[in-house]
């Protein structure tokens, strides 16, 4: 197993069946491909439009990348500062090494309140650690309140997108899920998105008014002040953050920004990159428990330090989960998110998931790309995903036991590292002229001819001129 500096990796929902196998299955689903092409096509156009409006997009992007790099370079100091700021205002701070520990902490906090039900703001971190399942194990029902998460939950389905977990479902499929699974829903419910949103509003309204414990993630944590930021659209986030008396926020340790001012960059980059809006409908900022609430923050590692340890891979931790790379990726558009087998699909998932788990547990994801580079172009924090994919492919290859190919390549590298050695070797090439016609190389010569070595090397010809 290749981990940098022996750093422990993460667990939870980060692996699945090998990508080629899962992708083959997904590619056979014409409905899925239609749903995805329509949705990603819509969002790509919107994003391009609002990004083009800003004359200083490139400068914002450079600043966003640099701010995140600064956080990662001094992450220990920022975490300590963040903890101090939170604690001084009365928030309880907890630390979790991995998914299991985070789940133990959160289920403990929830059980202590005596509730049997919690309401949740959409949070990738809680999906990553498998929190809903952990809560169910102790008899607590977690109610997802984001519309797409609710569709996924009611349909007993899995998220396939960072921003819109139910992107693989079209309106009529969603209507069917609601009619089947939503208690008391109008049997004549139409598939008009307005009617579907209204049904979700009615379904959740009572929960918001009565459930007393909420679980959220956070888009940003400000180290300087202890402020937490949740960026959302529907108002379900505001409901969860405001009404229950206990609020538990699950925050990956990479979510920090150094100072309040830094949000001036990210609150421009994130909405335009994610939903293609100039600004999302609602952003909540709270600094310490508000209006009599009890507030907990759980800081989660779960493989993030293992990612940080790789100098060529750590920039994946800049990610602000906008999903622009998913929406732009020709591979994602055809396979959908489930094929990646991880909470984090698409190009960012292909670089993040293998680093969080260690490449040995996700050896196919770095290859789930054509390396076309559009993900890098649209990334608001300039993560060079294509280069990182190549780097991770190398790590995957290195982590495997020797194959005939890798042995041959290593021998070749040895020969090519010395001019005289190399010269002697290529002279031997003329003896391969016969062999190349007769020796089969399975996996190579089945689909193409083996090149014929020349009778005389170029160097010999040049010198004998």
């Amino acid at each position: 197993m290749t981990t940098f500096l022996g750093m422990p990796t993460g667990g939870g929902h980060l692996t699945g069946e090998p990508f080629p196998k899962a992708a083959k299955h997904a590619l056979g689903n014409a409905q899925l491909r239609r749903n995805l092409a329509k949705a990603t096509g819509t969002i790509r156009a919107k994003r391009a439009n609002v990004v083009g409006e800003l004359p200083d997009w490139a400068e914002l992007r450079a600043a966003g990348a640099a701010i995140k790099d600064e956080v990662l370079a001094n992450l220990d100091e920022y975490l300590v500062r963040f903890e101090e700021a939170l604690t001084s205002r009365g928030t309880h701070v907890h630390w979790a090494r991995d998914a299991d520990e985070a789940n133990r902490i959160i289920t403990g906090l929830v059980k202590a309140t005596g509730t049997r039900e919690v309401i949740k703001v959409k949070s990738m971190a809680t999906v990553e650690i498998g929190l809903n399942e952990a809560l169910a194990d102790v008899g607590v029902h977690a109610v997802e309140t984001d519309l797409a998460e609710l569709i996924v939950q009611l349909g007993n389905d899995k998220s396939s997108h960072i921003l819109v977990p139910a992107i693989h479902r079209n309106r009529s499929e969603i209507r069917e899920v609601f009619r089947r699974e939503m208690p008391g829903v109008d049997p004549d419910l139409t598939d008009d998105p307005r009617a579907l949103a209204e049904a979700a509003r009615k379904h959740l309204r009572h929960k918001f008014m009565t459930v007393d414990v909420a679980i959220s993630g956070a888009n940003f944590g400000v180290a300087e002040t202890g402020a937490l930021v949740v960026v959302e659209s529907e108002g379900n986030g505001r409901m969860c953050l405001t009404l229950p008396r206990t609020l538990i926020s699950v925050v990956g340790i990479e979510k920090l920004v150094p100072s309040w001012r830094d949000l001036e960059v990210f609150l421009q980059l994130l909405p335009r990159s994610s939903t293609g809006e100039r600004m999302n409908p609602y952003t909540s900022v709270w600094t310490g428990p508000t209006e009599g609430q009890t507030s907990h923050v759980v800081l989660v590692d779960n493989g993030r330090t293992a990612t940080l340890a790789d100098p060529d891979g750590r920039a994946a931790l800049r990610c602000i989960r906008c999903s622009a790379c998913l929406n732009s990726c020709p591979v994602y558009e055809r396979t959908g998110g489930h094929a990646y087998g991880s909470t984090y699909p698409g190009p960012i998932g292909a670089v993040l998931s293998p680093q969080l788990t260690g490449v040995d547990k996700n050896p196919t994801l770095p290859f789930a790309s054509s390396l076309c580079g559009v993900c890098y172009d649209v990334c608001p924090v300039a993560i060079d995903i294509p280069s990182m994919l190549v780097h991770l492919r190398e790590r995957v290859t290195e982590s495997k036991r020797a194959t005939p190919e890798s042995t041959a390549m290593r021998a070749l590298a040895w020969a090519m590292s010395d001019a005289r050695r190399w010269r002697r070797l290529i002279r031997l090439g003329k003896f391969g002229r016969v062999a190349s016609r007769h020796v089969p190389l399975p996996g190579w010569s089945t689909a193409r001819d083996l090149p014929q070595p020349p009778k005389e090397t170029f160097r010999d010809w040049w010198e004998s001129r």
């Binding site: 409908p281 590692d301 330090t305």
Partner: protein, 267 residues
């Protein structure tokens, strides 16, 4: 080793010796673009399908009254620190409950108003109601306001200490001020520690939010707003009514937050 110490130790081992380059801030920074363009602000809001009324500063009260009338709002909650004149025209036969947010039990007061509303009590009867409440005189042409069959509207002024979600659930509308607004993105930001913007639930639970934005509160871009919000503990950034794009990435306005946002821009 505690989880905290172990995670921090891992970070120290992992982060490497590298000192990153300073953050380049070559984007349009705060204070470089002058005041916000009100026309652009209104246009951006309309893009979100918010309702926008741009009016002279001395017509805010009439505008609020007209908006409530068109909406058919009967129970209105108002952030306690808003100027009283904003809503004076909106409760022709109603009353203000707990102008001081700490004065009296709002639940009791609210029940009382409802009972009176049902009884169709006239203004004289209300004048004799309990201490701590005030009666607003009905202006001329109450009927033209046409608020309801019994002509009664209750206006609750609620603060953090008197907040009851049940009151808010029954409210048809909420009226607040704001802290700052962004022209380029059509964003309005509330400071929930400010008395004229009220606690968070106030502007969340009622289905109709009227927010008054003064022209001098509108800044050009997001950095200007972030600068104006330094030190503000609890904020809500609002850009149009609640919305979702979760079904086929098509935007639908109106999910859990207020489904109608009415912005009164006072020039």
């Amino acid at each position: 080793m505690s989880a905290r110490d172990e995670v921090l130790a891992r970070v120290r081992r992992a982060k490497g010796p590298r000192d990153p380059a300073p953050v380049p801030r070559d984007y349009r920074a705060a204070g470089t673009r002058g005041p916000g363009d009100l026309d652009l602000f209104a246009e951006r809001l309309r893009d979100y399908r918010a309702r926008v009324r741009v009016v002279p500063a001395d017509q805010v009260a009439e505008t609020i009254a007209a908006a409530l009338r068109e909406r058919g709002a009967r129970r209105v909650v108002v952030a306690p620190g808003t100027p009283p004149e904003w809503t004076e025209l909106s409760y022709p036969a109603g009353r203000i409950e707990s102008r001081d947010p700490l004065g009296g039990d709002p639940r009791e007061a609210n029940t009382e108003v409802k009972a009176e509303a049902k009884a169709g009590a006239n203004t004289e009867a209300k004048a004799e109601a309990g201490a701590g409440s005030e009666v607003a005189r009905a202006p001329e042409g109450v009927d033209a306001v046409g608020l309801d069959t019994d002509g009664t509207v209750s206006v609750d002024r609620v603060g953090a200490d008197t907040l009851d979600v049940a009151i808010l659930e029954r409210a048809d509308a909420v009226v607040t001020a704001c802290h700052v607004a962004v022209a380029e993105t059509g964003t309005i930001v509330l400071d929930h520690d400010a008395a004229d913007q009220g606690p968070r639930a106030l502007t969340l639970v009622p289905d109709y939010h009227i927010v008054v934005v003064r022209a001098d509160q509108v800044v050009a871009g997001v950095p200007d707003a972030v600068a104006a919000l330094a030190g503000v503990r609890t904020q809500t950034w609002i850009s149009g009514p609640s919305a979702t794009s979760d079904i086929e990435l098509e935007r639908v306005e109106g999910v859990h937050g207020p489904r109608t946002l009415e912005v009164v821009i006072a020039r």
